[in-house]
């Protein structure tokens, strides 16, 4: 490594060794070869582990590399990133408490288990799983690309992009294969802590004091006034659209849903949500400030790609003083942590969906859990090999990949959010909504309108999706002769019957 010297190589090397050791320790703690043990750590994630694994998983390589680039490009309006990361936690509240109870009672492993249980339609579950796989495979691809960018960027090209992609991916594969969710959660614990330490380093290095910030803001007002001015209605529309897109989509990441399943109890879930809600203020808030400061700091660098902003800043800081050099090393380890912690969680989720929901219900139907677990591990290796091949020829930026993934996920979001909170939602309506939404999204993209009226095509499609769900469900209610009040009455009677049968069984 030339830009940051051998220190960066040593710091990252030590970190990677520690991560592999944790993965091995997790393997020794496994209780069985069951799917629940491998994919959900035996449903025993405590509050602190759950918090840090949710945190490390939610903040990816894109948060640390892509977001400073967006702040650099857009200026102060990128403050929206704090709000949209918070919107994810708020969207969890729409369905997580209900989902946790049902998942616990019926031993869910994958998001598809909820879909099969709630809608009882193999077609709906298959289509939703395909969309989930497409979206998170895209996400995993973004992490693999980030691995290459960070290695090449920080070493000044000495370590090529492809070495970063292959080496870091291999390490993730090894510890995930040996330890499953337990290894992923334990490494996330370290990775989450590294992320917090690295962000502190980033803030100290950037030193955004009010005086410094005021000087930069005034400089920006002179040199690039559009990056300081109150955003126009067109930007505000896009801001609202991003809040909806990231909020609803981020809340239904399969890896996040599986962490809800893996919570030891409701107290753990509650505690982690109540702290997670503050994390965007310190995480994306800090990154936003650093990205804005970079506009002034890198003014003489010439035109640069958004993904290169943070590597350039780190290279510049590290040459300034020994203290900044040390802080830069912390940030580098934090970036590698953020990328790997997201990649491992996504990979584990993909592996579970493909092994249990796809192969387990077709060619491996009736297979023992240990066999499905082994198959899941094999699937991880095959899948990652294919994605590494794509990552070695990237044709899109990290933020571009994020938006694509989110817009696909948005079409699945009603199955979880409406499905859990609206008992009247029918299977036909949910399936029609998802198919219509996906078709609208693809049609808008194909017609060259990825953001009609500055609103994401995925959000337009989501509105259509929800409208179809509501209209078809209401029509169905009319068909069966029920009005709202009658329907409520019937639902109430059903609840009373269930309570009564529960009481009888308890007696």
């Amino acid at each position: 490594m030339t830009s940051l010297g051998s220190g960066a190589g040593v710091a990252v090397g030590l970190y990677l060794t520690a991560i592999l050791a944790i993965g091995y320790a997790a393997r020794r703690s496994r209780a069985s070869e069951s799917l629940a043990d491998f994919y959900l750590a035996g449903r025993q994630l405590s509050g602190p582990v759950l918090l840090l694994t949710l945190y490390a998983t939610q903040y990816s390589g894109n948060s640390l590399i892509g977001y400073p680039g967006e702040a650099y490009r857009l200026g102060f309006s990128w403050v929206m990133s704090v709000g949209f990361m918070m919107a994810i936690i708020v969207a969890y509240l729409l369905y997580a408490p209900q989902l946790y109870v049902v998942a616990r009672r019926h031993h869910f492993i994958t998001p598809g288990d909820w879909l099969s249980y709630r809608f009882r339609s193999p077609v709906l579950t298959l289509v939703a799983n395909l969309l989930l796989v497409a979206a998170i495979a895209n996400y995993l691809l973004a992490q693999l690309m980030a691995m290459g960018h960070i290695t090449a960027g920080l070493s000044g090209g000495t370590v090529p992009y492809w070495v970063g992609v292959v080496l870091l991916t291999l390490i993730v594969l090894v510890y995930e294969t040996v330890g499953g969710m337990r290894a992923v959660a334990w490494t996330d614990l370290v990775q989450g802590l590294m992320l917090i330490v690295g962000l502190t380093g980033l803030l100290l290095a950037a030193s955004p004091t009010p005086t410094h910030m005021a000087a930069v803001t005034e400089w920006l007002a002179r040199e690039a006034p559009e990056k300081v001015a109150v955003p126009g209605w067109d930007v505000c529309r896009n801001w609202f659209s991003t809040l909806a897109l990231i909020g609803f989509s981020g809340a239904v990441y399969p890896q996040a849903i599986q962490r809800i399943y893996a919570a030891r109890d409701t107290a753990a879930l509650r505690r982690s949500f109540s702290i997670m809600i503050f994390m965007p203020m310190v995480t994306t808030g800090s990154i936003f400030l650093v990205g804005v400061l970079a506009i002034e700091r890198l003014r003489d660098t010439g035109p640069i790609e958004g993904d290169q902003v943070l590597p350039l800043l780190l290279t510049e800081w590290s040459a300034s003083s020994p203290l900044l050099y040390a802080l830069s090393l912390l940030v580098i380890v934090a970036i590698v942590s953020a990328i790997m912690s997201t990649a491992d969680s996504v990979l584990l989720s993909l592996s579970s969906i493909l092994a249990k929901d796809v192969l387990g219900k077709t060619v491996l139907a009736g297979a023992e859990e240990a066999h499905l677990t082994r198959t899941g591990k094999l699937v991880s290796w095959v899948l990652v090999t294919a994605l590494v091949g794509i990552a070695l020829n990237p044709r899109i930026t990290l933020w571009g990949l994020t938006e694509l993934k989110m817009e696909i996920l948005a079409q699945v979001a009603p199955l979880f959010i409406l499905g859990a909170s609206w008992s009247k939602l029918t299977t036909r309506a949910a399936l029609a909504g998802m198919l219509t939404g996906t078709t609208v999204y693809i049609a808008l993209l194909a017609s060259g309108s990825p953001e009609p009226w500055n609103i994401h095509a995925g959000v337009v499609a989501l509105m259509v999706n929800v409208a179809v769900c509501v209209v078809m469900t209401r029509l169905r209610q009319r068909e069966i002769g029920g009005t709202d009040s009658l329907d409520e009455k019937l639902t109430g009677q059903m609840d009373a019957l269930k309570r009564s049968s529960l009481n009888k069984s308890m007696l």
């Binding site: 509240l93 803001t217 609202f240 269930k498």
Partner: protein, 85 residues
Amino acid sequence: MTEPEPPDRHPDHFPEWIWPVYVALFTGSVPWYMPRDAPLRIWFGLPHWVVISLASTLGVAVFTWFVVHHFWPPLPDDADEDIPQ
């Protein structure tokens, strides 16, 4: 396709009044209501509209903390039972 029976329903959601509060807080975090040509005012080193947006977002966080601690839906007695693997 036959419609399935409604699955186990867990009727105790968060109280409905919290959602308009969220809508108001998120709407306040987007500076759509500020004049585009407003003169630049710097608060804590940042443009004033950024500070207002961040304050509104902090409001979302504080409100969520309150909601999670006071209104998390009560769970059925068997929800937290240990599950045999």
